[in-house]
């Protein structure tokens, strides 16, 4: 985000303000790179702001990968802890978002491989033993603001889409979620997934093809 000229001149004249002088405006108007610099200088507020910016995107990506709320929270927390404890090694040449998504998706894919969860349960955690645990580990798809009919319809539609995405290979799933939920450009997705740009395009193209097949019956209804 661009800073106002007055703000820029203040910063250029005084250098970076120390952590205790940072106010809400500084943090909200700061870029990710600036926040990382503030955090490196020991500002807890900067850590909190980075957490606020990325907790939902990271958690959503991981949750849709592993489809288990408890596991997803653990993995998302692990992602932030790794990122925050390694801020000194962060290279500002790359986007902060690419770095954090890379760690999150690697953790999620590693977990899926370790646990052999490629063919994951669509109706809740495998580890759930009681009906309450199953229900709490299912992906909730409605926002809660709809009428009962709309709620049911939205829930069914959401479940159909989530189910179709869950059936994709983990690599396809990561690519399609980063593209369509996070709106990341192909180049950044390639950076996050550490694969060539052409491979990302192939992943997304094939994922779209599979989704179209699985969701073909929804076409007339929508």
């Amino acid at each position: 985000m661009l800073l106002k000229p007055r703000e820029l001149s203040r910063r250029s004249a005084l250098g970076r303000p120390p952590g205790f002088l940072l106010n809400a405006l500084d943090l909200l108007h700061s870029t990710d790179h600036e926040l990382v610099a503030f955090a490196r200088s020991g500002s807890e507020k900067a850590y909190r702001e980075l957490l606020d910016r990325y907790q939902r995107p990271v958690f959503s990506l991981v949750y849709r990968m592993v489809r288990d709320r408890e596991l997803a929270e653990d993995l998302a927390q692990e992602t932030f802890v790794k990122v925050f404890n390694r801020l000194e090694s962060y290279n500002p040449k790359y986007k902060f978002s690419s770095w954090i998504f890379k760690i999150a998706s690697n953790l999620a894919i590693d977990t899926l491989r370790k646990k052999g969860l490629d063919t994951i349960s669509l109706d809740g955690s495998r580890n759930a033993r009681t009906s309450e645990e199953v229900e709490s580990s299912r992906i909730a798809v409605a926002s809660g603001d709809e009428s009962p009919e709309e709620l049911l319809e939205a829930k069914e539609l959401g479940e159909e889409i989530e189910t179709a995405i869950a059936r994709l290979r983990p690599e396809y799933r990561t690519a399609i979620l980063l593209r369509h939920v996070e709106g990341r450009p192909y180049e950044e997705i390639a950076e996050i997934m550490e694969v060539p740009l052409g491979t990302v395009k192939t992943y997304i193209h094939r994922a779209r093809g599979e989704l179209r097949e699985q969701l073909a019956h929804l076409r007339i209804e929508t």
Partner: protein, 208 residues
């Protein structure tokens, strides 16, 4: 592009649906789509898929998520003094007991002496308090006298008289201007300080 001989590729249709096809190619593709119902139908399907995927929202983690993360994070560059104190402070009850003994042991003889004095018949608590008050009063008088002597010796009063005479020579308009400047500058600088040190209030999430 002939409408029937060469259909648009899936990549072209996806780029068209995303709006990332270069303008010239997009114009050609639209011309083709007008004449080719097959490609138009394919584009519809892709756009429909994009609409469905657009319905996906982000999920929120539990309310304790952030605190859970921060509890496990080693904040960068912790103050050296704090870090040293953290290392020095005991972590067990035994450690605290040892620290307490180490701090109070040197004072024990003094405390014992005071207690012994208080047991003597001539030294009552009231007499000790009265003696302390007299000593304090005497010390205050000595300090006040020393300050007055020092002020007279350093020529402070002479300096004040000179300053007053100098101020009288300054034109009243310049003096008024100076006072007005200070009256504006002081509150402004105070406001600036308050703004700089203000604590952030509320949180604006960038997610969703």
């Amino acid at each position: 592009m002939p409408a029937t001989s060469a259909h648009l590729t899936a990549e072209t249709l996806e780029q068209l649906a995303e709006g990332s096809l270069p303008p010239a190619a997009a114009t050609g593709a639209h011309t083709h789509l007008e004449a080719c119902s097959c490609c138009a139908s394919e584009l519809d399907a892709i756009q429909c898929l994009f609409t469905l995927l657009g319905k996906l929202t982000r999920f929120a983690p539990s309310a304790s998520f952030g605190d859970g993360v921060m509890a496990r994070v080693q904040l960068a560059q912790e103050s050296r003094v704090l870090a040293l104190l953290r290392r020095l402070l005991p972590t067990t009850r035994r450690g605290w007991a040892m620290i307490s003994v180490a701090v109070t042991a040197p004072a024990m003889p003094l405390i014992a002496l005071v207690l012994w004095l208080l047991t003597l018949p001539l030294i009552s608590p009231a007499a000790v308090i009265q003696w302390g008050l007299l000593q304090t009063q005497s010390a205050a008088q000595t300090a006040f006298a020393w300050l007055i002597d020092g002020a007279l010796g350093s020529g402070l009063f002479g300096w004040a008289a000179t300053s007053y005479t100098t101020l009288q020579t300054i034109p009243s308009s310049a003096l008024g201007g100076g006072i007005a400047f200070l009256a504006i500058a002081i509150p402004l600088s105070g406001w600036g300080l308050v703004r700089l040190t203000r604590t952030p209030v509320g949180r604006v999430s960038h997610a969703n």
